[in-house]
Symmetry: C2
Subunit: 318 residues, 2 copies
Amino acid sequence: MRYFLTGAAGFIGSHLVDRLLAGGHDVVGYDDFSTGQQSFLDMALRNPRFELVRGDVLDDTALCAAMSGCDLVFHLAANADVRFGTENPRKDLEQNTLATFNVLEAMRRNRIRRIAFSSTGSIYGEPEVFPTPERAPFPIQTSLYGASKLACEGLISAYCEGFGFESYIFRFVAILGERYTHGSIVDFVKSLRRDATHLRVLGDGRQRKSYLYVHDCLDAILVAIDKAGDRVNIFNLGTDEYCQVTDSIRWITERLGVKPQLVFTGGERGWIGDSPFIFLDCGRVRSLGWTPGLSIREGVVRTVDYLVQNPWVLDARP
Amino acid sequence: MRYFLTGAAGFIGSHLVDRLLAGGHDVVGYDDFSTGQQSFLDMALRNPRFELVRGDVLDDTALCAAMSGCDLVFHLAANADVRFGTENPRKDLEQNTLATFNVLEAMRRNRIRRIAFSSTGSIYGEPEVFPTPERAPFPIQTSLYGASKLACEGLISAYCEGFGFESYIFRFVAILGERYTHGSIVDFVKSLRRDATHLRVLGDGRQRKSYLYVHDCLDAILVAIDKAGDRVNIFNLGTDEYCQVTDSIRWITERLGVKPQLVFTGGERGWIGDSPFIFLDCGRVRSLGWTPGLSIREGVVRTVDYLVQNPWVLDARP
């Protein structure tokens, strides 16, 4: 098989490149390195079955050319920051919705019909049902990020019906692990490195969140694209637990050996569009035989260890 | 109140302009006349409280300028053809998704916070529950048109959460009545005018569809924006009945006094993305005190009468 990956130099993308190469497949990685890291592909670049194309998913021509001859597209490139949607609403529209349209059109022109897509649990807005199943009541969007991923899912499903595509859509909780470069754990570790006596926490710290270790996430994705047989296959991906923000802070500070005073900004939500409770029902992907290997706590601890060993990550993004 | 309408020269838009003017309001109509008809605004243009701006919703600058000083935006401009999505997928993306983003951004720049939006029952794809309520299980999109309207709904809801907007989202069944210019009734009447002995019917004719008379639709919209008080207010709009395609054909042919032989193209669906059964639960809008005045049959008959009296409509579009 010859796989095409957008966002190949990103956190999840680069791990997936390594896994696919280890499985003996050919891989074409596509990334504009706006947030991706060349160093994540160090191992892949030594493999003759890996081809790296530096390009923008909004560049139709380059994207279409790079995709030629591939069998399945993993579309992982995205603006993955749920927090800053209202600062620049066009970013989610362009980097998520329009980028996904471009990927689908490039696939159509190349007669590639299988796509795997990284969606998000944020798509459920503030759900009424916990754990939230894939067929939860039609949600109301609360973030521009969630809205853009919803638009992508809709496009992908319509291409399945309209053009005979097959799709694997994964609604992730927050993913953790080695090469994790942005999100709350980075923010906390970065802040504690600057000042270990105080830690500013967005919201009241009681938000309940879910996390999944990146290799568990990839196991699930690979099982799903192997075994799922519908035209549109949608899977929640998470563990069967959640934690409070203050739990994750406790695990982080214990691991770092610091005892900061927590300063809460207050309120049920950490930012506009923050969902106070994310907990997904992952029974559907578990029914394919997948189970996560690490608990949330173990995933958080590995992530902290990675960041401590790779402090450059803390400086790599604003 | 000063209202802004995109798609003001369209079927539903022009009726709404007339209704708002009759209610003593100021109205700014915006239309690029790609499908809108100047003649639909004949009455409005004689009213000094009506201002018409010829412009494209994709033209940010013109849109933003035209919207200045308005209190509520009715965003009705759209590519409303569910049937031809796969022929040009970019059309739904641009004229629906991107246009709606532009409308929201123009509102934000003008500090206008209330939007009413024409969505569609097609957003439910092929639902499992009939009549389908607004909180039906998270649907899978089956048409590019539905997918684009889903994207619009998501954007609007996210703007409500992110920027304090209030929205009224209406998921229409097919709307009928005077000034109806495209859709199956036009297609049937046009075809019968050419040849009254045969009528080609897409699918097996047993598709179950819902229709609503345009003035009933507008009554519901005006009641909803007056009474609904949530940040995001979503309403199905339809009658509490449905009919088969062959029922509507019988009513049309009886009214026209013709007896064509029906030629079915076959299959459960008339085209790619056609939903074989559309029947919405409209209990939510009914709970505000609205009821439709005309049955589906009465709406079909009025539409046929309108088309017979205005044969130019049959030639106005391909």
